[in-house]
């Protein structure tokens, strides 16, 4: 195991030089978007400065280099999640949300019919809800929800009944509100036992723990580059080669065709079929660098580091606020990641975040694109703090100090 030092990660990450309202920045919003290290930023600058060209259709040198970087990122991602058939199973989209739309509107539209059920959960992000509602409008499928218990975990007690008529289970690997980690292997097993496929929203897990889609035995795996130290503008869609081969085209245009005439078109094979138009080339170069960087840190190290930070923060939030602040999520780090949603009694999350900003503490207030979950717990918003590999106990110190002040201000 490599020696992991979060202070080195911090030194590698230019944003942490910033001072906000006379305080060093305490960036606690990695669940919304993580902060890329210098290596990622430079990989993109280098792309534009040295080799920028469109991919795939050039024979000159910078076009080859661009294409190489782009395809290299695909291989890096395939390796990072352990895709059984490698890069041929990786589709690049613009974000996790587009990946879900691809799943629903290509695989879903081709394989689901009126009455078929897609089983999601009450703790899904809108990205894994709205596309299914859209498919319901179009095809008359049913969208069913796995409930979330008062322990902030999926209530799987009736999973066999819930699975009746289900063709696809689509669940988050980790809730972006509660921090709850889903028992994916178990769910994959029961889903398959019932003849259903399983899709995973890994937006919150991939940058924080090691991933092995082969071992998980899942069918679709979706995430975003910008939540794993990579750039904006790039999402990932993984599925097994055999499923990918059967998926009809989604977005149409250049690059996704084998032939076009005035009477019709023939779609391309492989990932290209789903990558219409000029792809996010510089972004892929950045993602390639992010994967290398994370591999250098070691995902198990990252995970253990964030687990310790979370444990410390949960303990202190519990003991230092006399019950005035409630953590909306599991109380221990057992099957739980570094996302901590707070409900400060009598203070709206927006106001909490506003006060925290005065201390350079960056937390996100709101419904976190998970309105059904908020309704489940009768909340309109939480203030959410979340960790990354560069997070330090000092960030938690700043968070707690600022929270005390917020509580005081609102009396």
């Amino acid at each position: 195991m490599t020696s992991f030092d979060p202070r080195r990660v911090r030194a590698d990450t230019p944003l942490f030089a910033r001072v906000i309202n006379d305080h060093p920045i305490a960036y606690l919003d990695s669940a919304a978007s993580s902060v890329p290290p210098r290596a990622v930023i430079e990989a993109m600058s280098r792309h534009y400065e040295r080799r920028h060209a469109n991919v795939h259709r050039g024979v000159y040198q910078t076009a080859n280099e661009s294409t190489h970087d782009y395809e290299h990122a695909r291989e890096a991602i395939a390796r990072f999640v352990n895709a059984p058939a490698g890069a041929n199973e990786i589709v690049f989209t613009k974000n996790a949300t587009e990946s879900f739309n691809l799943l629903a509107k290509s695989w879903g539209a081709a394989n689901l019919k009126a009455g078929d059920v897609v089983l999601i959960s009450e703790m899904e992000h809108h990205a894994n809800i709205v596309p299914w509602f859209q498919l319901r409008e179009a095809l008359g499928i049913e969208v069913r929800f796995i409930p979330v218990g008062d322990d902030f975990r999926l209530d799987l007690s009736s999973i066999d009944e819930l699975l009746a008529g289900v063709k696809l289970v689509s669940v988050t690997a980790m809730s972006n509100v509660l921090g709850t980690v889903t028992p994916l292997k178990e769910l994959a097993r029961v889903a398959h036992d019932h003849g259903a496929l399983i899709a995973v929203d890994a937006a919150q897990s991939v940058g924080h723990s090691s991933t092995d889609v082969t071992d998980l035995d899942v069918d679709f795996f979706i995430f975003s580059a910008h939540k794993m130290l990579g750039p904006t503008g790039l999402g990932i869609f993984w599925t097994r080669q055999d499923l990918l081969a059967e998926m009809p085209p989604f977005l149409g245009g250049g690059g996704m065709i084998a032939d076009v005439s005035t009477t019709g078109y023939v779609p391309a094979k492989g990932p290209a079929r789903f990558e219409a138009g000029t792809p996010p080339i510089a972004e892929a170069a950045g993602l390639g660098a992010a994967v290398l960087y994370l591999e250098g840190l070691g995902m198990d190290n990252v995970h253990e580091h964030e687990r310790r930070l979370t444990e410390d923060a949960l303990t202190r939030l519990e003991t230092e606020f006399d019950g005035r602040i409630q953590v909306i999520g599991p109380a221990t780090t057992h099957e739980r990641g570094g996302v901590i949603s707070l409900d400060v009694k009598g203070v709206h999350a927006h106001d909490v975040a506003q006060v925290l900003d005065q201390y350079g503490v960056c937390v996100r207030p709101g419904h976190h694109c998970a309105k059904p979950l908020m309704k489940r717990f009768n909340l309109s918003a939480t203030a959410r703090a979340s960790f990354g590999p560069y997070s330090l106990i000092a960030d938690t110190d700043a968070l707690l100090e600022a929270l005390s002040d917020a509580v005081k201000l609102f009396g």
Binding site: V347, H350, D351, Q358, P365, H367, S380, L409
Partner: protein
């Protein structure tokens, strides 16, 4: 520089803790209009009872941050019992108060064109413009009221 005292003036915290005109009105005769701030989840429902061109009663429900809640409470106090023309004038004045000069990230309210004294307690919301993201919190209730008045006209 922006600082918290500018934003969270005592009047605002008071209206947040003890909101005026909370509740519902029977529809009809009252009309009911909902407002959302989809990005932060704030919701507001405005009930208006208009008789003879006069806003004889107003009630509010909903939830949101101290700014959106106090702004709606302050608004209800400011417009209740007024003629619709006056209500519209108040809306216009308030919106001017909330105008951000977009030439830079620095923002200031527009004191030359807004007669702050005429606003009474509403002037407490002046500090919001220094926090541009919170402007939409402050204006949610007002936009909803505008919409409700349009329905009255229609």
């Amino acid at each position: 520089m922006s600082n918290l005292e500018d934003l969270y003036r005592e009047v605002i915290l008071d209206h947040y803790r003890s909101p005026r005109n909370r509740g519902e009105l029977a529809t009809p005769p009252a009309i009911r209009v909902e407002g959302f701030n989809p990005l932060c989840g704030d919701e507001i429902v405005v009930y208006l009872l208009v008789e003879d061109d006069k806003l004889v009663d107003i009630k509010l429900t909903g939830h949101g941050c101290s700014i959106s809640q106090s702004s709606s409470s302050l608004m209800s106090a400011a417009v209740k019992g007024k003629h619709l023309g006056q209500v519209r004038d108040t809306i216009t004045t308030f919106k001017q108060l909330m105008t951000v000069h977009e030439s830079s990230l620095e923002t200031t309210s527009n004191p030359e064109v807004v007669d702050v004294r005429a606003l009474g307690e509403l002037a407490a919301l002046q500090g919001v413009v220094k926090f541009p993201v919170r402007i939409k919190c402050a204006t949610l209730a007002w936009n909803t009221l505008s919409q409700a008045l349009d329905e009255v006209d229609a």
